[in-house]
Symmetry: C2
Amino acid sequence: MGYCINHPDRQTQYLCMKDNIYFCEDCLTCRNSEIYCKFRQSCPIWFIVKKGFKSWGGDEKPVSTEYSVTFQPENKQIKVKDGESLLEAAQRAEIPLNASCNGKGACGKCKLVVDSGNIKSEPTALLTQEEKSKNYVLACKTTVHGDITVRIPEETIERNLKVAGMGEAATKRLQGLVDNISPISIDINLQLSAPTLEDPVSDLDRLYRGLSKSKQVDTDHLNISLKVMQELAEVMRNDDWSVHASIIRKRCGNEVVAIHSGTTQEASLGVAVDLGTTSIVVYLVDMANGDILGATSGHNRQAACGDDVINRVVCAEKNGVKKLSTMVLATINGLINELIHSANIKREQIKNATISGNTIMTHLLLQIEPKYIRREPYIPSVSDFPIMQAKDIGLKINPQGAVFVLPGPASYVGGDIVAGVLYTGLHNKDHMTLFIDVGTNGEIVLGNKDFLMTASCSAGPAFEGGGVRWGMRAEEGAIEKVVISKDTLAPEIGVVGDVKPRGICGSGMIDLISEMMMCGIINQSGKFQLDENHPRMMRDDYDIGYIIAYENETNVDKDIVFTETDIDNLIRSKGAIYAGFLVLLEEAGMDFSMVDEIILTGGFGQYLNIEKAINIGMLPELDQSKFHYMGNSSIAGAYMCLLSDRYRSDARQISNNMTYIDFSSNNHYMDEFTSALFLPHTNINSFPTVMQKIKEGK
Amino acid sequence: MGYCINHPDRQTQYLCMKDNIYFCEDCLTCRNSEIYCKFRQSCPIWFIVKKGFKSWGGDEKPVSTEYSVTFQPENKQIKVKDGESLLEAAQRAEIPLNASCNGKGACGKCKLVVDSGNIKSEPTALLTQEEKSKNYVLACKTTVHGDITVRIPEETIERNLKVAGMGEAATKRLQGLVDNISPISIDINLQLSAPTLEDPVSDLDRLYRGLSKSKQVDTDHLNISLKVMQELAEVMRNDDWSVHASIIRKRCGNEVVAIHSGTTQEASLGVAVDLGTTSIVVYLVDMANGDILGATSGHNRQAACGDDVINRVVCAEKNGVKKLSTMVLATINGLINELIHSANIKREQIKNATISGNTIMTHLLLQIEPKYIRREPYIPSVSDFPIMQAKDIGLKINPQGAVFVLPGPASYVGGDIVAGVLYTGLHNKDHMTLFIDVGTNGEIVLGNKDFLMTASCSAGPAFEGGGVRWGMRAEEGAIEKVVISKDTLAPEIGVVGDVKPRGICGSGMIDLISEMMMCGIINQSGKFQLDENHPRMMRDDYDIGYIIAYENETNVDKDIVFTETDIDNLIRSKGAIYAGFLVLLEEAGMDFSMVDEIILTGGFGQYLNIEKAINIGMLPELDQSKFHYMGNSSIAGAYMCLLSDRYRSDARQISNNMTYIDFSSNNHYMDEFTSALFLPHTNINSFPTVMQKIKEGK
């Protein structure tokens, strides 16, 4: 039971399982009746819609006069039409506002403080009375009707913080991983002989002859662009027939993409990009030896269009795919600029790039139409990409630089998962591995050297902070560890960066729920059973929750709490993962006993407590030695593909060999999901040790 | 002896052998002392320059005020600076003015009539007193000093006339020549299966699967551009998974360059282009069966920058290669427009193009730096071109259309000669062939299936009308045949198009000189020996000549005459060709007796009298059955390459197999050239039959 998103005074049982919003009977309709929704088969709202409830509609408002909106502290001004929403204004002004639900009014994150001016705000349950009294509004639910000035509160500003787990330890693991380096784009230094009457071959033939002698490239299938041919004569003569050529090795032949006078001793560099729905990680790599010269990460600016991939596609359909591409390119190029600056190198030195992302992210980046991905039968437009050049896609490295985008086998299992498999090497192993990457989605792979099966289990963004009141990514200020004292019921917390907390990330949530359950603060349904008057308990108009950190202990001047709704969300996410494991094994005619290794990867940062993940039923109860947490495998795979042709061809093979199982049309998956909505699980026989611990109150 | 170009009253012996201009001692200097000149080794001016005469210089004039020049009958207006030449103004206004010598004041062809306004003209011997009295000026020697209006006289307007010899007979010879048609760009119609949950491969994989099943293209090495990938999703769904793809078959793999919804039954068309220095010929071809749907030709607009390739390069160095490219593209695209209009087809249907031109023409078209071609050691930048797309080079056919540019073995032997060899098939024959293409240059090939040798003999533009007072190309109004009555010494002429004559073309000149010699009008040195008072004799201030057509018989209201200077030029041209034959044979250790066949091609139109060409010593005295005149072999080879992959690869092989002999560094060539400056030759033993005829007064 929860409160209607539009009528905060009405309690209701109807929960949109996808958007995690309650609706009262008056509001009851599916918001996305045309789009792909994994929950559809068991969704109460969907069945009611199908029975004939009328659609919502009437979203457009009459617009006429223009007003100006000033955003502080940036002091950025933008013109808006009467009735335009603040979120639209912020997006146009490129104010990095966090709008996880893409303007649905569901996430409550796009908070702004109105300093002055005429606005209209819809009622919302997602602002506290205190916030309302301080003129907080939700940008998406507020329209402009006069010149106004707004301020971005601390907690709304997206910070360009380092993603935890990407520190020295993680990068050192990669160093030396690739021994036989073979970049896509190579530079070849040549000292050519000057032409004579006796040796009058054309400039181009002279170049090809030199390249052929260098034995570094196959000149039989060498292409060259008109632009390079046009420059050839001068470039070859400018430094007495000494030149260096940049050559891209494509699958269907090589291409001379640039030629310059003189030889070069400059280091050739590359970037590996983990193109996540939420976070983007970029490594700067020395192509000569694989050294990682720098690493940085940032939030995908597309987050302004929603947390999950489906919202991004909806946004692309509305605003054009180019807009989404521009947003993500701004993020990637900003990170590249940061690396160029901090490593003190020249942009032109970066001649190689690999990009590892899920299928929708790569479509949006490349401006390839993504809309059919969310419509049955869920077809991506391109799954295996040719080698491209940076200038073609807008990547701000050397314009002639080569770009390899990792291929992905299906609409909901993309290149990032292929990268993960490549990094773990499970496709080469004899023993059976179950692999899960927990990001904004949850993708599972089961297999070994003989076969690979994969599925996407729609775990939702809870582990990355989505749909959780104080949820955040594993960044500085995120609570990542929690131990609760059985005596005082007070938590001892570990925070990323050892600073005052700003919120809680996935690993913190797993710890917290496990601890609350073991201490009896919540029961196995995830409901609070602690005395209402306990100092750690919070109750407001809408929800009840546990106070993890008091106002004065935090960096946000408010209590950081974890509510029953948050717990519900987490339980659905962990249930989706567990159900995914079970059903994928079943499709292969197997069960957990036949699994030799379980590899977890994803955005948990450096820390993940396996035991506690088992306690809450996210992971199966197996010997802990079988579990391995491997961090961000997407960036690791991208790094490997950046350096080695063998790995690039492995990636293609992995993608081709994967059998995709579609859970959206799988009744059994919904059953298993429902059974998993309990701590640790409805079927307690699967978790004997956990049950024993609960019994013993450990 | 002649008259100084700058001082028409001064007689002088110094003749620039390249530009065909006399200089008095005051003016004596090489105008192009830095450029490649084939005559240099025996040039009197050059040696004097080397001895220390100071260079000309001082070409620039102070400019300030702006005036307007109006060109009639086009009524086109353009602003010019004070002191700018009328030729520069005309070129900027894109008035198609004939300026064979590129503004040197040597050809006398850029005549304009000044109707009103303030101009300054340098004195010139190239205008008659009558013309001067009618306000004729040479545009290149006239500067503007006020608003003026000029008129383009009839004889200056470049006409878009059909090149003779390209009529039905010539095109019919090609029909059916290519039996196994394999275009570069092909269209493939596909009816794909719609995706299902059971068959969820990506759009691109579905397309590739369809292409692979069609067996029309190798999908293993298939590339695709980002733009096509971006359109893929919609295009494939728009007509229920029925599509047609355009694929270019490149040397190093194929590429999907376009995809459209629905199937197409539209004929795929192609254009074959003979890119001549002077004339450009375009054929429109049905790619299904090789039918020639239309043929047209026009004058290369680059002619405004000079008649010969060297002047074009000089012009490109001065004005940028882009300008020259724009000029020639305007010509080609204009001709294509004409064909599109007359054949009533759509531009988009033209998906294939081949271009056959000499090395400098192809460099200029593609904006590839040509300047080193005219500097020792005379190196082209590119001799073998990759397949390009029309949009890349500015060809106005389907933008995605494939363009094949015929490769050429050397700076002065280009793709047009390779096309000629391909068409004649001499590279496949057992017997020994001597091939010459007489165009603005004269290129010779000697060989059979075992070897190919080639050279360029710098015949100059005389046979195409350059440097000849009434010279013109083999167009409507050109005198192409001449028989002179021994009794009356009056000529009987044949004119292209059976109209009143406007001038005389190469074949007419050969006839005329042979006839004048046989009738005793001129002696064997090419000097007039006819009585000055004979009604057919003309003498003006500068020259003496034979009147071929009286004023009232012509279309230009003036006597058409052939002067001693004209004869001198022709003798030099024919001498260059004959010397070329001899030296190339000598390089191969052969002589004329070992030659089984002599093939002539080039711009003579439909008619060439072999006997008379032998009489004047242009061709060796051999059995006439050994000679074959094959018309425009450049367009024929381009046509063959348009239709067939086999011929395209043959062309590459011919180009690769040719050994180029450079005459510019060959002393023996200059000796032979000098010996050939006599009618028929200094060595009369080589022409016993001709000598007998002369003796008998035939």
